[in-house]
C-alpha cells in the first residue's frame, strides 16, 4: 500500500505540492490527473525516493521512503517499477541490455539463460517482437520506446508500477495500445499501479480510481462515476479543458 500524507514540495519560490494526501490500495490502478506543470511527476518521484519531500511523508509497504537508508531504499526500488515519460532508455545499450538491467535480483542478472528468457517474456508482455532486442533505442519509434521502458520496469517483477505520462506524445492508436497494456499488466501481473496523465480518456480506460491534482493538492479522489458527477469547479474545468480561466498551479 502507498500512503501519501500532507506532502509539501517547493523548488525555490515555486510551491509545487502543497499538502497532498493520497492513498493507493493493494492491487488497484489509480490515475492521477492534472494539466502539465501541476506536479504529477514530482509526486510520482516521491514514491520511489527520487525526490525527497520538504514536509509530510510517503509510506510504501509501511516504510517511510525519505527515512530509508541507502540499501533499504535500493531494496524498495526493486519492488517499485518506474516507467519514465520519455522512456529514459540507456542509449548506449541495445533493447536487450536495457531490459536486462531491469532484472534487479543479482543472481538472476548474472544468469545468462534466465536473462534471455526473462527479456523474451517481457518483450512478449509488451507486444514487441523478439528481433527488437538487438536494436538501439535511437532505432525505435516513440511507442516502441515507451513499451521497452515498460518492459524494463517489469523485468524485475515489481509489486508496484509507476507510469509517468505513459501516452504523452503518442498518436491515438499507440496511446490506446499503451493504455491496453497498462490494464493487461495490472491484470496479468497483479501489480498495483499509479499512472499520472493529462489524458482523461486514457485515465478512464485504465484506472479503478481517479484523483485530480490542482493547486498543489488532490482536489478530488474517487471512482470514474464520482469524477464525472463532481461539481468541483477544478474538476469541471479540467473535463471541459477550460485551463485559461481556472488556475491549476499551486
Amino acid at each position: 500500500m502507498i500512503e501519501i500524507t500532507n506532502l509539501h514540495k517547493s523548488f525555490g519560490d515555486q510551491v509545487v505540492l502543497d499538502g497532498v494526501n493520497f492513498d493507493v490500495m493493494e492491487g488497484e490502478t489509480v490515475a492521477l490527473l492534472g494539466p502539465s506543470g501541476t506536479g504529477k511527476s514530482v509526486l510520482l518521484k516521491h514514491i520511489n525516493g527520487l525526490i525527497r519531500p520538504d514536509l509530510g511523508r510517503v509510506m510504501v509497504d509501511g516504510l517511510e521512503v525519505a527515512r530509508l537508508h541507502r540499501k533499504e531504499l535500493a531494496s524498495l526500488r526493486t519492488r517499485v517499477g518506474y516507467v519514465f515519460q520519455n522512456g529514459a532508455l540507456f542509449d548506449s545499450m541495445n533493447v536487450f541490455e536495457n531490459i536486462r538491467i531491469g532484472i534487479v535480483d543479482g543472481d538472476h542478472y548474472t544468469d545468462a539463460d534466465y536473462c534471455t528468457k526473462r527479456v523474451a517474456r517481457c518483450l512478449d508482455l509488451v507486444n514487441l517482437v523478439q528481433e527488437t532486442s538487438m536494436k538501439l533505442p535511437a532505432e525505435l519509434s516513440g511507442g516502441m520506446r515507451k513499451r521497452v521502458g515498460i518492459a524494463r520496469a517489469i523485468a524485475g517483477e515489481p509489486k508496484y508500477l509507476l507510469y509517468d505520462e505513459p501516452t504523452s506524445g503518442l498518436d491515438p492508436v499507440n496511446a490506446d495500445i499503451i493504455d491496453g497494456l497498462v490494464t493487461r499488466l495490472a491484470e496479468e501481473l497483479g501489480v498495483t499501479s499509479v499512472t499520472v496523465t493529462h489524458d482523461v480518456r486514457g485515465a478512464f480506460k485504465v484506472a479503478d480510481r481517479i484523483a485530480l491534482l490542482a493547486g498543489g493538492k488532490v482536489v478530488l479522489e474517487g471512482t470514474k462515476e464520482e469524477f464525472m458527477e463532481s461539481t468541483h469547479p477544478k474538476v469541471k474545468a479540467f473535463l471541459e479543458r477550460d485551463f485559461e480561466n481556472s488556475s491549476f498551479a499551486a
Partner: protein, 266 residues
C-alpha cells in the same frame, strides 16, 4: 543624521556572500561526489568491465592526438633551442632542454590539456545528457548505483590511462626532439645524450607521473561532477561541457604551479 545605504553598497557584500555560499555549496557537492565514488568501489563486479571499456576509450582513443601533440612539441622545443643557443651556450644543452622540458612540463601538461578537451568534454556531455533525459534517474529507480555504473569506471579509467598516455607522450616528445635536433642542428648523438644525462634526475620521471595522476583526477572529477549536476536540457548540457573543459584546464594550470612549488622547491 543617519545615512541610508545605497543599493550599490548593499549589493557588493551581498554579491560576495552569495559567491562564497555558492563556492562552499560546490565544494560540498564535489566532496559528496568523491564520497559516492569511494562507496561505489565496493561493487567491483559492476565497475570492473565498464572500467576496462572506458580505459580502452580513453587510452586507445586518445593515443593518436596525444602522440601527435607531443611529437610536435618535442620537435619545436629542439628547433627553438637550437635557434637560441648560439655563441656561448654549448649545443649539447639542447639535449638537456628537450628532455627536461618534455618530461617535467610539456608531456604532462599538454597531454592533460588535450584530454581535458577530449575526455572532459565527452564525460560532461554524456553524463549531462543522461541526467536531462532521466537515464540517471532510471538507474536509481532500478535500485542500481549511478556511482558504480557511471562514476567509478570513468574516474578509474582516467586515473590509470592518463599517466600511461603521459609516459608515452614523454617518450615520443623526447624521441621527436632528438630526431629533429639530429636532422637540423649541428649536434651529434653523443652530444645530445650527454646533455640529456647532465641534468637528469630519476625524480623527474616520477614527477611527470605524479603530475599526470593529479591532472587525471582533476579532469575526471570535474567533468563527471559537471555532468551529474547538469540541468535544463540541451542548453544545460552545452554549459556543463564548456564549464568542464574550462574548469579542468584552469585547475590543471593551477596544480602545475602548485606541484612545481611543492615538489621541486619544497
Amino acid at each position: 543624521m543617519t545615512m541610508t545605504p545605497t543599493p550599490a553598497a548593499l549589493t557588493f557584500p551581498h554579491a560576495i556572500g552569495a559567491w562564497v555560499l555558492h563556492a562552499l555549496a560546490a565544494i560540498g557537492r564535489v566532496s559528496r561526489l568523491v564520497a559516492e565514488f569511494v562507496r561505489g568501489l565496493v561493487e567491483w563486479r559492476i565497475w570492473l568491465p565498464r572500467t576496462i571499456d572506458e580505459a580502452w576509450n580513453v587510452g586507445v582513443g586518445s593515443l593518436f592526438i596525444i602522440l601527435l601533440v607531443s611529437g610536435f612539441a618535442g620537435a619545436v622545443t629542439a628547433l627553438q633551442a637550437g635557434y637560441q643557443f648560439t655563441g656561448s651556450i654549448p649545443l649539447y644543452v639542447v639535449g638537456s632542454l628537450v628532455v627536461e622540458s618534455i618530461i617535467l612540463e610539456l608531456g604532462p601538461v599538454l597531454t592533460a590539456l588535450v584530454l581535458a578537451g577530449r575526455i572532459g568534454a565527452r564525460y560532461a556531455a554524456e553524463l549531462g545528457t543522461m541526467r536531462v533525459t532521466e537515464q540517471i534517474d532510471a538507474l536509481e529507480s532500478l535500485g542500481r548505483s549511478p556511482a558504480s555504473h557511471l562514476l567509478v569506471p570513468r574516474i578509474l579509467a582516467c586515473m590509470v590511462m592518463i599517466p600511461v598516455l603521459t609516459v608515452m607522450a614523454d617518450l615520443i616528445g623526447v624521441a621527436s626532439g632528438w630526431y629533429f635536433a639530429m636532422q637540423v642542428l649541428p649536434i651529434t648523438n653523443s652530444d645530445f645524450t650527454y646533455g640529456a644525462r647532465a641534468f637528469w634526475r630519476d625524480f623527474d620521471a616520477y614527477y611527470s607521473v605524479i603530475k599526470a595522476f593529479s591532472f587525471a583526477v582533476s579532469i575526471a572529477v570535474i567533468s563527471t561532477y559537471m555532468g551529474f549536476s547538469t540541468q535544463q536540457g540541451a542548453e544545460g548540457v552545452g554549459k556543463a561541457t564548456t564549464t568542464a573543459v574550462v574548469a579542468s584546464s584552469v585547475l590543471i594550470l593551477l596544480l602545475d604551479t602548485l606541484l612545481a612549488r611543492v615538489l621541486l622547491h619544497g
